[in-house]
Subunit: 355 residues, 2 copies
């Protein structure tokens, strides 16, 4: 492999990250968070790379968000001092890892049930209580307590545990549900006040609605991941343009069986099958009229019928994925470049950390 | 991590492989291939594990199939002596790797264009010609020449290259297209005969229609991958039953936000978003009425409304994935067990080999 050079000299498929765009995306979002008075706590699921988390912290983020304990270990090892784990941690091995992590960094975690809290409480020593937030379901219909009443009850239960400290409310909202987040947080805040419980953190997140965050008068922390790279789904959401997308999958046309069909050497093992509401599998930057109609594991089938110019066999073309985070999880390395000249390969250090 | 024990003691999500079922699946398919006089050349994409390829060879397979050159390197390093690469290999780095591989094992490769053949021909030394097959599109609408005439022309072009040897025809058929495979192969065979070209290999494949392979009078080699583990899609295809599925994803119920909703710690990073025509994301073995309605990267949302008995928070349950091959590509390791007692963790050595 060439050590530096044009991205088009790379063997395909290869995931390219434009560092100039990464820097711009981080700066843009941090500036917005600063203006709106929100603490930024970026989710590392998108990049899974400590070097990029450090860029986010240097720009002004208060810490990072991880979803899994084994991911958090990678970032703690790399020197990240403040991590929020937005997952119900349970099971002996994970709780043991949580305890070890808590002893060496500023760790916080979420819970949405007494069972989760019991596990945390019996693991952590009372000498150094663990910060715990209550996860609230504000319409996402995934994890989270279902009502402000439940949120308050669980907060009280956390506060009763000598080894735990209740520190706030956390939600992962669906896009455009700011009103229900606001109502849930406001009502719970009222109940917590009545119960005499302090609630310093109101944490929300998500990249698609990121630039609507100013509408909330109560949220004070924002977790977002995808904005660092951006992707086709965020272009559709109006968050950014294609020129703001830092991740491209470089791929080669390996077959042109018919006038209107090209086959690329990037399948679901490179692009993933995530549609996110699209009916095709990515945006072909170099041939915008081309449509990726199907993926098998190692091939993408592309319909060229709308293209006036068509790619040749052997030609390398770039794709912006529907969903960037899941692509990172497939790759051992990404190639970092500025304006098409790559200078290094970075390991996706937290890739494949499943628990 | 416990070194041995019950699979239910493993930290989740974890991919379990039942070796008893693996052995049975290999034996069953090899027996069928032997009875029908087909040479078996299993595709390793499903397991990506040399140890399992060796089981397939020990049972009687003539060699293996890989899709990517970097996968083939892993298996050659592990001592597999005979590999077919069913991919148009192009680009300097890949051709260099191909040449190196050709010098140490029995390698064959496919091509569907003159451009691919030119790359192979100029890479390989004339002293040890490389075996090349023509890939035919028999209805799969992916790669492959479009007609018997084109297949014959390309075979002749291969035969004209001093460093290459034409050895056969290869197709990846869609399920239930045996007739068009047969017609394509028969007609091309006729043309090749007229052209004075020998064609020793007629290679077809695919697990879903595997047990229809006997209908072909011309195919003499069969490439299939999924049959070693089986999955929900193969149960639907009538190839096997759920009891024949060797791969399970062990996952923990981490949240029960409502009476009818469970959330598991296995999302698209463990199950993948591959639907393969299903509308939900896997078969919940331990709660067959449960429906996995949605996946985010680290969570599965499960609808329990049809379940009479419902799982508790902390409970571990097993899922048979829609598509097993793509799960292997996400995992650094799988846990091998017999009847629920695991004895070792195996590295998925060819995972993430994207080119």
């Amino acid at each position: 492999m060439t050590k530096t050079g044009s991205i088009f000299s790379l063997t395909t498929p290869a995931v390219l990250i434009d560092e100039t765009i990464v820097d711009k995306n981080i700066a843009r979002v941090q500036k917005y968070m600063d203006q709106t008075g929100l603490k930024a706590r970026p989710h590392i699921k998108t990049h899974k790379i400590p070097e990029f988390a450090k860029k986010q912290l240097a720009a002004g983020a208060v810490g990072i968000t991880c979803q899994k304990i084994s991911e958090a270990e990678v970032f703690a090892d790399a020197g990240i001092p403040d991590i929020l784990l937005t997952f119900n941690i349970m099971g002996d091995e994970k709780l043991k890892a949580l305890k070890a992590l808590h002893e060496r960094i500023k760790l916080s975690v979420v819970a949405d049930s007494r069972e989760t809290i019991d596990g945390l409480a019996s693991t952590i020593d009372t000498g150094k209580p663990l910060d715990v937030m209550v996860e609230c379901d504000t319409g996402g219909q995934r994890c989270g307590v279902q009502s402000p009443r439940e949120a308050c009850d669980l907060a009280q239960y956390i506060a009763e545990q000598p080894s735990l400290k209740f520190v706030g409310l956390m939600t992962y909202p669906m896009p455009n549900t700011e009103d229900s987040v606001e109502a849930f947080f406001e009502q719970t805040a009222g109940l917590l006040k009545q119960a005499g419980l302090e609630c310093p953190i109101f944490s929300t997140g998500g990249s698609p609605s990121l630039f609507s965050a100013e509408r909330s008068t109560i949220a004070n922390e924002y977790r977002a991941g995808t904005y660092i790279y951006n992707d086709r789904s965020l272009v559709r959401a109006g968050h950014c343009g294609f020129a703001d997308c830092a991740m491209h999958i470089l791929t080669t046309v390996v077959s042109r069986p018919t006038e209107d069909r090209a086959v690329l050497d990037a399948g679901s093992k490179a692009l993933t099958s995530d549609l996110l509401g699209f009916t095709d599998f990515g945006y072909v930057v170099d041939y915008p009229e081309a449509v990726i109609t199907g993926l098998s594991e190692e091939h993408a089938v592309v319909d060229l019928s709308a293209c006036t110019k068509k790619p040749k066999i052997g030609e390398k073309i770039r794709i912006i994925p529907n969903h960037t985070c899941v692509v990172s999880n497939l790759m051992n390395h990404v190639y970092v470049h500025r304006d098409g000249e790559f200078d290094r390969r970075i390991e996706v250090a937290a890739r494949g950390r499943v628990w």
